[in-house]
Every structure is written in structure tokens, then in C-alpha cells.
Symmetry: C2
Subunit: 429 residues, 2 copies
Amino acid sequence: MIYTDASQTKQGMSVLVEGNVIKSITDDDDVISAFINEHKAEQDFSQINGSGYLLMPGLVNTHTHSPMTVLRNIGSDLTLQQWLFGEIIPRECNLTPENVYYGSMAAQMEMMRSGTTCFCDMYEPFEMLTKATLDSGMRANICTAGLHNDWSTGEKRTYETFEQSAKLFKQYSSYDRLNIFFEMHSVYLYRQEWLSGIVENAKKFNTGIHMHLHETEKEISDFMELNNGIRPTEFLESIGAFDVKTVAAHCTHMNDSDIQILKKHDVNVAVNMTSNLKLGSGIPPLPKFLEAGINVTLGTDGCASNNNLNMFEEMHLAALLYKGLYKDPTLIKAQDVVNMATVSGAKALLSEPCGAIKEGYLADMILVDLSGIHLNPINDINALICYCMQGSDVDTVIINGNVIMKNKKFLSIDEEKIMSEVNSIILCK
Amino acid sequence: MIYTDASQTKQGMSVLVEGNVIKSITDDDDVISAFINEHKAEQDFSQINGSGYLLMPGLVNTHTHSPMTVLRNIGSDLTLQQWLFGEIIPRECNLTPENVYYGSMAAQMEMMRSGTTCFCDMYEPFEMLTKATLDSGMRANICTAGLHNDWSTGEKRTYETFEQSAKLFKQYSSYDRLNIFFEMHSVYLYRQEWLSGIVENAKKFNTGIHMHLHETEKEISDFMELNNGIRPTEFLESIGAFDVKTVAAHCTHMNDSDIQILKKHDVNVAVNMTSNLKLGSGIPPLPKFLEAGINVTLGTDGCASNNNLNMFEEMHLAALLYKGLYKDPTLIKAQDVVNMATVSGAKALLSEPCGAIKEGYLADMILVDLSGIHLNPINDINALICYCMQGSDVDTVIINGNVIMKNKKFLSIDEEKIMSEVNSIILCK
């Protein structure tokens, strides 16, 4: 069964993938035979029987900090200040580049296992994130020009220079599964002269910016106090930060004027439901975003503030929360939520068409086992994906036309090694 | 690894089960050998190696309508009126007793697969629920004296008489895994003279009542309009409904005076997070319940309003929602949520000690596979259970001392048959 880009299903069809792109979706036996004959001699040619499965687009996680998986469950149920400054940052300062690599690998395994094929990462060092992504087989949007620890001198938490950042961009932007953005962590962590420099760099290299935006009320009021009552979103608009492609994570507290700015510049919003709830940041105005026609996408945030990277849980929350909050069960339809987690996410992170089972789209797809008793009877495919499906139902993961996971087993990742490395990391404060 | 009743873990211990009760938790090799020698000749004697697993109490689902699994995903994202009267009830009227049996069996399979060992059911006909429960191996609290379809005459939706109900109680209350309550559906569905009759019956038979209470604002205002401004909770107190053991499902809209009444009579509250959100009923004041010292438990409600029966999702929601709503990440600790889903639930439904790995407690336990990449590193066991664990991590289910599921396979349920029966039910309006 195929989940089509019309949010419905088709049966009895074959999806033909050539290189990294969906070439055709057809039930024409002659076309299928001709395709097989043309390609069967290729070394990586394979056929997968999808009977009993749902073929759907891979999920897209538009905001995470993948290496934070090593900090899973640290400091849960504490205040934001106690959690961040008392538990997380003191441990992060002791991370080695190797820890970051294995943390990101573990995160990417968790994401793929639960159906995510593409993610948007923000962490350091950049080279460890890119290395992990090239090794794992995932597709990612990774940003450079952030904080970094100077591992060679032991100096903690310095900034990459624009030159370093530009060099990394040029070095990595041609890789097949990587899309490189510039990092603008936030208005509270970066100095203002830096923010403009990042915008210039993004324009110069014709790429985008990944930022945290209005995650907490404090971040907004602190900024306004220092900047004559100007809100961070207004300020960022004034320096041209939204003139390039932007992924704005959180957007938990946005007034009508902020929302108009986001819409005016086609800013992509990455809503992080679990993280915003868990850290007590608040509840993002998702129905207002949709009403304004903003491209709304879903992210998990890092593992230390979630404490998992399971996009099915984010879909579940996005579909449920506002119905109860506004006492209106018609708010946020299942189909809209599936779109947020697939095609809208891909639009935010990539320049090529992706996120739907459609001719000409990148071949990032998952096969979901429909035999679980919790998935029967189906009755409504969008409700099934949104309310019933579990990450553990994902059987096969195809990214960029390559089969990465089959029968729940990774074909070229040493699972045991990653697990053992991640569990051996002991992070003291 | 054993999750102890102190909400911590112990390693290297053995749990010895005699009959249906946990006899001992020990690392004394002599005690273990003596126990094995004493029991090894018994036909159902078995040893399970728990290495790499977490042994924890089975989850307790304190409110559901198990046969509604056949209505999964019907009428999602509609208004409550459209959903209930336009989609659900017209189909329910066409259910046969056989449909109800297979629906309940499928529900019980889904519950056990995701770690639930005991549930509180409300549906009809009573004999189909009890038959399914006796067949499945689960523990259940089932209530009689509800609505019923008179299948013999084709009459739809009549009521059981008190005599019928009392007869069923006497017939089934001595079964090992069944605990029989009386059903008081709600103040809006039952006539007032009936409510008092149900209280009398419960007192006479020294058992409890399972009811819906303050699920929606409309239910409260409608009742108040007809009853001189008296709230349903006040009225039920006045007729003695809380003088017996009570499981009150939903309690979505409770003011301070209602909460005082619940606490005064030790009413057990079954919070149904997903259902209340999904149907737009509202958000129950869970932090206030806990502050008042009320026994708070978790339920999934029926599958048509959830659309699954996965208690891990209910835990996840209960732990997250209030932190975001009140912008306080210290609200509703992971440990409290695990208690709600285990020992507090068991206390609400049963008269015997259950819901903890503790000597003298009923042997209702699950083994959870800890090898998933999403469960590593562990760092904090309560956070792990509450925020990371998935229903699909449950490997083995032990109920009443019997191994019901092992290596994710049911030992004596014909899974294929149940699945096929459930999928063959076509319910027209």
C-alpha cells in the first residue's frame, strides 16, 4: 500500500527508483519489466516486496542536537536554569569530539529506527556531525559557524570565525546527502555584530540559516529590555535574517505581528512540542501558524530535553494538544500533521523536491509493517499514521535511493559498537 | 534489573513466584535453590532469565471500553456531536455479541503487547467481556448493570434490571482474575432513580462503582440546569455513590469543592489524557488532584477516542502536558507518573495488593527489553520509563503468575484468528 501525495493510499502499484530519485509509480507490467531489465545488472539493484506494508515518505525532523543523546534523561523534571546550567552545560564542556561522533551516530540510529530519514542538526564540532551523517546514510541539514570547543588548546566554548565557517561550507556543500546552512544560535547567545555577519555569509553562499527563535518568554523580555522594546523577530527582520531561507526552531511565543513577519518572509517554523512542554517553555501557537499559511514542521529537539527522537510522538502530540486546549476536536487534522512531518519538513531543509512518494522526488521512504494489532482495523490512513502508528512499526528505511535498514536491521552500521561506545561515555560535571 | 517499589532498581536479584503471588525477592542462592527444588516438578514451573531486561510491574489501564477497538480511527477530528451521534453510536447499534468478543480480545492483545496487565472495562454485553478476559489471561475490573442491546429480540439499547445485574455479579465475582463492579455510566445517561439503585446494589454486594464523571462542561451545565444548580459530583455524594469504592473516569472539569469531595471519599480518579484532548473535552486538573492527595490513575478510554490503548503514551502525556501548560518543568515528576500507571491503578481496581514488585503482591509483571538504542544510555530509570520507553519494548508479560506473552509472542492466544476476525467486521451506519 502506498501513501500518495494526495494523502490517500493506492494498492497494487510499484515504485521505481533510479539513482536517488523516484522515477515512476506504476502498475504497468511492461514498464516495470523494462525497468528491471535495464537495471538488474547494477550492483546495488534490489527489489522489495511491499505486501502487508505501507510505503510512505520518510519523516523529517527539523530541529535537533543529535549528540545530546549521550545526555538522555539527565536532569529531568528540574527548572530550566537547574537543568541547563546545573546539569547539561557542565557535562557538555567535557565532551570529546569522539563522544560527539558516537552520540550523533546513536541519535541517527534512533531516528532511522523510528522512521526519520532527514534531520536538521545544530551542534559542534561540525566535522563530527558531517562525518556521522556520511557514515550513517541519513540525509541532513547541518549548520556551521557556531560555538565550538577548541579541543587542541583545551579552551572551552569559543566561536568559529567567518573564515573557518565559510571554508567548511565550501568543503561540505557539494556532498550528496548534506545541505549546509549557517548557524545563528539565538539572539541571546550571539553578539549582534555576529548576527549580521551570519546573514551576510548566508546571502553570499546562497544558503539558509538555522536558529532558535522565541523559545522562552524570558529570551524575548531580556532582548526587549536591552533593545528599546524591539522584539527579537522584529530585530532579525531588520537585519535581513529572514531574507534567506530560515528554519526557526521553537517559536513558542509569537504574537500576531511576529506571525505576520514569519509569513511575509516564508520562514519555516520548526515546532518542538515535547521539548517545549517538558522544559516548561510553553505551548507554540500552532493553529495560528497554520491559519496564517506558514510552513509548519516538526522537530524533536535534543534528547536531553525530550527524552527521545521519535517523530511519531511529535505527530501524536501536535494532533492532540490543541484540540483539548481550545476544546475543539476539529483543530489540527491528522492529514495536516502527517504533512508537517514529511513534505513540509523536507521543504524547510532541502532545495530538491522530497517528502512525498511522487515522481521526481528524492527516494527517501519507509516501509511500515501493518500487521501490529494496534494498527487494525485501519479505517482511516491519516488517523492511523497520526494516532496509532509507533516508531517500532518501521521495518525498512530507504534514503537517497539506498536501503539503509531492512527487517529492522541496519545493513552497514555496527549497532553493537555504537551502543557500547555510547554507554561507555561517563560525563562528570 | 528489577524496578522496586521504592521506584529504584536492584540488580542481581531473583523474583520467586508461588501460585499467583510474589513470594520472595532475593539474591540468596540457598533460598533460590530450595524454591526451585520444591517447585520444579510442577507442570507450569518455568524460569526466565531477566538479564538485559527490566522487570517492572504490569501497567494498569483504569478506564476503557475494550470492544471499541473495532471502531478504531472512525470519525477522527470531528466535533463530539458528529463523532458520537453521527459515526459511533449508529455503528455500535449494529454490533453483534461476537463482534464485541473479538473486539475485546483484540483490545486485550494490544494492551498486553504494550505492557498492560490489568484493565477496567465498561461495555456490553457483560458476558462477552468476561469471556474474552477469561480467554486472554488478563486481569480485569468489569462492571455490570449497564445499557445492553437485547440481541434476542433485536431491541436496541435497553437496561439490565437490578436482578439481572445482581445475578451476573454473583456468578462472576468468584473468578480468579475478575473483579466485578457495578456500572453507573453517567448522570446524563442514567435516570436518577437508577443511580440510587446502583449505589444500593454496590453496598449490598460490598463492591465498587465505575462511572464517567464531569467529562465535559456540557454534562455539568445540563445537570445543573435540571437540578437547581447542584453539580453532578455534589449530587452523587448526596446519594452515597462515593461511600463505596469508586473509579471516576475523566474528571476533566473539577472545581475546588468537587476535588474536596473526591478526596473526602477516597474516590479513585481515572485520568484519560489522550481522549480528553482528542475529543476536545478539556484538560483535567491533574496537579490539583495530586496536591489534594487523591489516588490518580491513568486510562486510555476506548480505541475510538484515542486511537490506541498504549499506556506508555498516556504516561508520556501526563508527564509533559502540565509542565508546558503552567510553564513549570518541575510539575508531575516521572516517578509520580510511573506510580499512577502501576500501583495507584491497581489500588483503584483491586482489593488484593498489586502493582509493585513486592513480596505478597499479585504476580502481574512485565519484562522490558532494554537493548533498544532509544533506551540508551539509561541515566535515570523513572525518566526512562516515563519519557523514552515504548509499548513495543515489552517482551514478556506475566499475569496472575502465568506467562501470557514471551519473546513478544502470545503463548495461548490465536493472534492470527483474532486479527482476521476483527478486520472482517464491517460496521455500517
